[in-house]
Point group: C2
Chain length 207, copies 2
């Protein structure tokens, strides 16, 4: 039995969706970031990084969204969430997921978590970071729209973990000051995702 830790509004939605699509038996535990539960001694024993997602398996704890997405795809191959036996196509999935975690998520984090990279008291620097987020997020999604998202799914006709992850970060766009409709393929992707019962079920848990 897997135990999955998540919090609403975070990138943990992507791996949570993967568990649902995979039909992976799991218990989901919700953390309240407003009460700093991710910093509690109890949770830091699960994940010393103090972040979500974290997946507790029989062999130990796993973290980092791209790693969880691949782990779930590989552990539940019948769900066909990644082209595991095609090294090139799998690399396209990993490339996409890696771009989301190391560039898009990082852009977004400069809005509310700029204190990671400057002193928390430096309000001018924090404001400067926050101000650029609409631009960096729009630039990243322009690249996704024009170069990366083949449509209707990220890989084209084939659905994969990249779709779960893209949908998760697309949900942040409006809050980051960027209209989703600026990117027609991304907007269409979001609508397709939201039409799926698995997405509706898990998103309801993340309200």
């Amino acid at each position: 039995m897997l135990t999955f830790y998540y919090a609403p509004g975070t990138c943990a939605l992507a791996a949570h969706l993967a568990l649902e699509y995979a039909g992976a038996p799991h218990e989901a535990r919700r953390l309240d970031f407003k009460q700093s539960q991710q910093r509690s001694p109890e949770y830091l024993r699960v994940n010393p990084k103090g972040r979500v997602p974290a997946l507790v398996t029989e062999r130990g704890v796993l973290t980092e969204t791209p790693a969880l997405l691949h782990y779930i795809a590989q552990s539940f191959p019948q769900a066909n969430l990644a082209p595991l036996d095609d090294a090139f196509l799998l690399a396209k999935v990993n490339e996409f997921n890696s771009y989301l975690c190391s560039t898009v998520h990082v852009n977004h984090a400069h809005k509310g978590r700029g204190y990671r990279w400057v002193e928390p008291e430096d309000t001018a620097a924090l404001e400067a970071m926050k101000k650029k987020v609409p631009q960096t997020m729009a630039e990243s999604f322009a690249l996704i729209e024009e170069q990366m998202l083949k449509g209707p799914w990220v890989l084209g006709e084939r659905f994969s973990t990249s779709d779960l992850y893209l949908y998760t970060l697309t949900r942040w766009l409006e809050g980051d000051g960027v209209e989703v409709k600026r990117f027609p393929k991304v907007a269409d992707h979001m609508r397709r995702m939201e039409a799926q019962p698995q997405v509706q079920k898990i998103v309801a848990l993340h309200q």
Copy 2:
């Protein structure tokens, strides 16, 4: 035949090492960042992100270090660079590589590439970012030292792509104002890597 684009001082060293360890036939092409060759129209047709590494394969171009590391490991399985058939161990490799790309590399980038996240004219904000880099890099390497690097290799006795990637980012530490010797396991890991002929050969190309 693979074509690999790299530049000295960048994270492209990790995938370059993987190609060497894998014995992958390839042509390596060096870009000069001081001449902004990564922004040339010619290179932007290869990689619209204007970054390295990029690996041109018969089926298309691949980017993002974690994706390249997995692709090389999967394409040249005899080199045994990743525990491909063990979903949990492979997830540990992916987790480690994902942490390096989305947290450690991002910390480092706030020293010289802060303009990605604030206006390039905002010298006060750029300085504020630069100032915190020794702290964020030290914190990340403390976590690696205490929680993630089993020793002698990242996974323990088993060598993997995570070792190539860790070595690549460890090389940035002194330049980021952090003494490697503060982290005895990391320092030992660096020494072991530098004793390997594959590392010596490829590092020489990155001078």
